[in-house]
């Protein structure tokens, strides 16, 4: 028996989601065995909500043959070690969540437990001093991590800030080189097949009809195929993720590019700053229930550090998730599948993760139902994990200066997150499942950064004398501080890396 492979894939919508999908599928399937077409109307602008990546982007680059120095040059990218959060747990507080580990396990017990014990003494030390990535970020330094597990330079990872519009161009060039065919047109109608309700073809404005076997919906919140056509519902998460609007504005750089994103909370939402090589992209994400668009615009414009280079652009967003992100022969990728906001840079990651899963569960022309269900189950788990981690930032706060924060503080959260908060608050425990993206250090950074100090630490820590712990922690801190000082500045690191393989 021969199984029937899929010979034709149609991606509707471009943007980062569409072009990342096109690049990945083309590189996996190859143009000989499968035609990949992407329908994008030229006037579809790119919302610049997703300009920060997390370290998994390196896997995407490696797997699909993207040269990182080339990517950096093409997108004016900077390195990203994490995010600096300001005014989240309380006004005046700040912390860094980086992709780096705090300290190291001792006798198989998490570092936080030793730190918590030390904290009870007179010489308390900030947790951030035990992660090289935090110390380096604070000093504006960057260096590529190493693989050697014995080195302190192996304790962190990195990602990029990149210009979303240039990233789309870069991906488009890459995909076209791999044989993806771009159709500049608009979909005006969708034709479904007879008994199974599969999508047969899409009708274009020009009159052309494009048929395919697998359709990928990258049309953004609208969900032209998955929603409008296949009537797949959308679960509203605004009760947990209280925002519905974003304002974007570009400014000149006001200094050296920072190796991290800034996320500063305000009365009805928060603002970000994404440093690029040539400018800074700023945004304000808020709930229109708590602040008007005009007032939100003023908040954003009044807080800009550099001279503005563009007029503010308003984008409406819908936090939530499509009930099923794969239905029949249609897979939704990007904000057509769901959205948890730009905090923690989950946008590009969720696209990447959906692509990885689609390849893992790549169908044949039979589209077995069990295969689709398994994909949906994995995606649901992934989304729930991202959602909970983002909710944590809103929920865990002592802020009581506005109705918005009163709401966040008091809101009930998903059961799983409530358990996590309780586990950490009582005993400093961070459960970690094999499929989870954010690791123990990430949860630690946010919990501690937003003011949750566990009531108790692992009792096994009491085996070690206080002086011994103090000595150990001091030397760790010392070692990390020296390692950070030996790193080049972020600006020099960008320059050096971008020069790699450059023709000029």
């Amino acid at each position: 028996m021969n199984q029937r492979p899929i010979k034709s894939i149609v991606i509707v919508g471009g943007g980062i989601a569409g072009w990342m999908t096109a690049t990945a599928l083309a590189s996996v399937c190859g143009k000989e065995s499968c035609s990949i077409r992407l329908i994008e109307s030229e006037d579809a602008g790119t919302a610049r909500l997703d300009e920060a990546t997390i370290p998994t982007i390196q896997e995407f680059n490696r797997r699909f043959g993207i040269d990182e120095p080339e990517l950096m040059r093409a997108t004016n990218a900077t390195f990203r070690l994490g995010t600096r959060f300001e005014d989240w747990g309380a006004i005046g507080d700040s912390y860094l969540h980086t992709s780096g580990k705090f300290g190291q396990k001792i006798d198989g017990i998490g570092f936080q437990h030793y730190w918590l014990k030390q904290r009870l003494t007179d010489e308390a030390m900030p947790i951030g001093e035990f992660a090289l990535s935090c110390v380096a970020a604070n000093k504006g330094r960057f260096q590529h991590p190493v693989d050697d597990q014995r080195s302190v330079y192996s304790t962190y990872s990195y990602a990029f800030h990149l210009d979303a519009a240039l990233f789309v161009n870069f991906l488009r060039d890459t995909a076209e080189k791999l044989g993806v065919q771009q159709i500049d047109d608009k979909v005006v109608d969708v034709h479904l097949g007879g008994k199974d309700g599969f999508i047969n073809s899409v009708q274009l404005k020009s009159g052309e009809c494009v048929d395919g076997e697998l359709f990928v919906d990258c049309t953004g919140f609208r969900g032209l195929l998955i929603g409008d056509t296949l009537r797949t519902g959308y679960e509203d998460w605004r009760g947990w993720l209280p925002f519905d609007s974003a304002l974007l504005v570009q400014t000149e750089s006001a200094g050296e590019p920072l190796p991290y994103t800034c996320a500063k909370a305000n009365h009805a939402g928060w603002q970000w700053r994404v440093p690029l090589q040539n400018r800074v992209d700023n945004g304000h994400i808020y709930s229109s229930a708590y602040i008007s668009d005009d007032a939100a615009t003023n908040v954003l414009l009044n807080s800009l550090e550099g001279k503005s280079l563009s007029d503010p652009e308003l984008v409406r967003v819908k936090p939530g998730k499509r009930l099923k992100t794969w239905r029949r022969n249609c897979v939704a990728i990007g904000s057509s599948s769901g959205f948890v906001g730009p905090l923690e840079a989950t946008g590009i990651f969720l696209i990447h993760a959906a692509i990885t899963k689609l390849i893992e569960y790549f169908p044949d022309a039979e589209f077995p139902a069990a295969n689709t269900s398994a994909y949906n189950r994995d995606i649901d788990t992934l989304y729930a994990g991202m959602r909970d981690f983002v909710i944590l930032h809103y929920k865990v706060t002592q802020r009581d200066d506005s109705k918005f924060w009163d709401y966040c503080r008091e809101m009930s959260v998903p059961e799983e997150l409530a358990l996590r908060i309780q586990l950490f608050a009582t005993r400093g425990v961070v459960p970690h499942g094999s499929s989870e993206l954010f690791n123990e250090s990430s949860w630690l950074a946010v919990f501690l950064g937003q003011g949750i100090i566990p009531e108790d630490y692992d009792p096994r820590v009491d085996r070690m004398q206080e002086e011994q712990i103090l000595h150990l922690l001091r030397s760790m801190r010392e070692h990390i501080s020296r390692a950070a000082d030996a790193m080049p500045s972020h600006r020099d690191a960008i320059r050096e890396y971008c020069d790699l393989g450059a023709s000029t």
């Binding site: 028996m1 069990a370 295969n371 586990l423 425990v429």
Partner: protein, 497 residues
């Protein structure tokens, strides 16, 4: 000592679970000034007279300072490379379900798709030909990690005698300061406010108080069940062979370093090769087979019975709704138990202990710690249940009262989904807390006669000639390597020197 810290732990039981708990806790809580006492109940026997562990479990011995070589010599253990499955889908079928991986992934395509494609093409290829562990098992060979670095690494667990290991663990615990009280429980005194166990009143009219109680009383579940009234979730509708009769004997499969599981008309015949003889048990459902008939059965399976008496035991598969409740943590049979077709319950016991120490509570007995413990333990047990059920699925074609009854119950949804996914696309979805890896699941699906209708379509994009050549070389290399490995029995003999 910190305020609010647990300062005393009482372990109730007397079989391998109690002493494993005592040894483990004594070692991992050493230096914390926590008094650990075992209330050793008389007449506790090991419900599973032999234990056959998965590879993962061996890591638990190192923290106890128990060297594996010493353990093997003292307990008469043998190495175990997987399970021998016999007469599952037909009376003549014999196959090996190895531990560890087979082949290598082809790009991002998992290796087993290469095999399921071959099956669809009627090519004679098997997963096992690509597994050094399976090939070594078939040839009766074994070599350890330190033996010869040029030979491929094998995945192995152990087969051992439970009574002997119990004694080893008991000695280890007592050397590490664990106290022993020998008596029976007459009643448990619960705190009127929070319902925690305060103390146990004993037959000798003394009482035993502790901050934390560990219930290792086996199926009786004296604390978690009897005192705290946590209900038992019965899975014996899925796994009905709850009764067993055990003997030691000489058998035919003695030299193959696996644990054997044979389907029969009335239940399962299990045999575990130890160094000097083979431990055997016949598992059956009391609804269909009487103990007398079972005793007669087992003699038919073995060549020569050992001198020990027959041991009967009864243990339905299932688990307590909460394995950790109030200030009581149940481990071993008191917490949950699965018919030991593939692996014995020692693995489940050890992962419970490892979880308990990383979630060590204070006197407040935080609910969240118990919630997490219960969730992960139950999920792990359900995965093992589903795995064992696949063997039932394979043998269900028999038209006998025992097998007919097993067909009447629907499979759990979780297993149904796994089967449908594999059958339609060769894919395997792993849960967070699995005991078995992807390749072991693939082997078990195939052993159960589930031949997928399709394989990963991306496999067809890879140059076929190249991968055929690659795996043909791999098969040859494995055969050659296995030839060079020592005989399992010789390897064991050499450990004694």
């Amino acid at each position: 000592m910190r305020q609010g810290a647990v300062s005393s732990i009482a372990i109730v039981g007397g079989d391998i679970s109690a002493w494993a708990a005592a040894a483990w806790l004594a070692n991992s809580l050493k230096g914390l000034d926590i008094a650990i006492t075992v209330l050793e109940l008389p007449d506790m026997v090991n419900a599973e007279p032999m234990q056959y562990t998965a590879p993962e479990t061996l890591r638990f011995f190192e923290p106890l300072g128990i060297d594996i070589k010493r353990l093997i010599n003292i307990t008469g253990a043998t190495y175990r490379l997987g399970t021998g499955l016999h007469r599952l889908r037909s009376e003549r079928e014999h196959r090996i379900l190895p531990f560890g991986n087979s082949g290598t992934d082809i790009g991002h395509v998992h290796f087993h798709h290469f095999i399921t494609r071959a099956l669809l093409r009627d090519e004679k290829l098997s997963l096992n030909d690509h597994s050094p562990t399976a090939m070594a098992a078939r040839a009766g060979k074994f070599h350890g990690r330190a033996n010869d670095p040029s030979l491929p690494t094998l995945s192995y667990g152990l087969n051992f005698n439970a009574a002997k290991l119990t004694k080893l663990l008991r000695d280890n615990a007592t050397i590490n300061g664990v106290g022993i009280v020998q008596s029976r429980i007459t009643s448990a005194r619960l705190n009127a406010d929070d319902g925690h166990i305060e103390s146990l009143l004993l037959e000798d009219e003394t009482s035993l108080a502790a901050d934390l109680f560990i219930d290792c009383s086996g199926e009786a579940a004296l604390l978690i069940g009897k005192a705290l009234e946590v209900k038992f979730i019965d899975w014996s509708q899925f796994l009905p062979a709850s009764r067993s009769i055990a003997v030691t004997a000489k058998t035919d499969h003695h030299n193959i370093p696996v644990h054997h599981c044979t389907a029969t008309d009335d239940g399962w015949f299990l045999s575990t090769p130890l160094q000097h003889r083979t431990a055997c048990q016949f598992r059956y459902s009391p609804e269909h087979v009487s103990d007398e008939l079972a005793a007669a059965h087992i003699e038919r399976f073995v060549r020569e019975l050992g001198p020990e008496a027959l041991v009967l035991s009864n243990m339905p598969s299932g688990h307590r709704q909460y394995m950790w409740h109030k200030n009581c943590v149940a481990l071993g049979g008191a917490a949950g138990w699965i018919e030991p077709l593939d692996i014995s319950n020692f693995d489940f016991l050890m992962s419970g202990l490892s979880r308990l120490t990383s979630l060590m509570p204070t006197l407040a007995m935080q609910d969240s710690l118990a919630t997490l413990f219960n969730r992960e333990m139950t999920e792990q047990l359900a995965c093992v249940r589903d795995f064992g059920l696949l063997h039932y699925y394979a043998a269900q074609w028999r038209d006998t009262p025992f097998w007919n009854a097993t067909r009447e119950h629907e499979k759990p949804d979780s297993l149904q989904q796994r089967i449908e996914l594999f059958a339609s696309s060769s894919r395997i979805c792993l849960e967070e807390h699995e005991t078995f890896g992807r390749d072991t699941w693939a082997a078990a699906f195939l052993a159960a006669g589930i031949t997928p209708r399709a394989y990963d379509p991306l496999l067809d994009l890879v140059n076929d000639e190249q991968i055929q050549q690659y795996f043909s070389n791999m098969r040859r290399a494995i055969q050659e390597a296995v030839r060079q490995m020592p005989n399992h029995r010789e390897y064991l003999a050499q450990l004694r020197h």
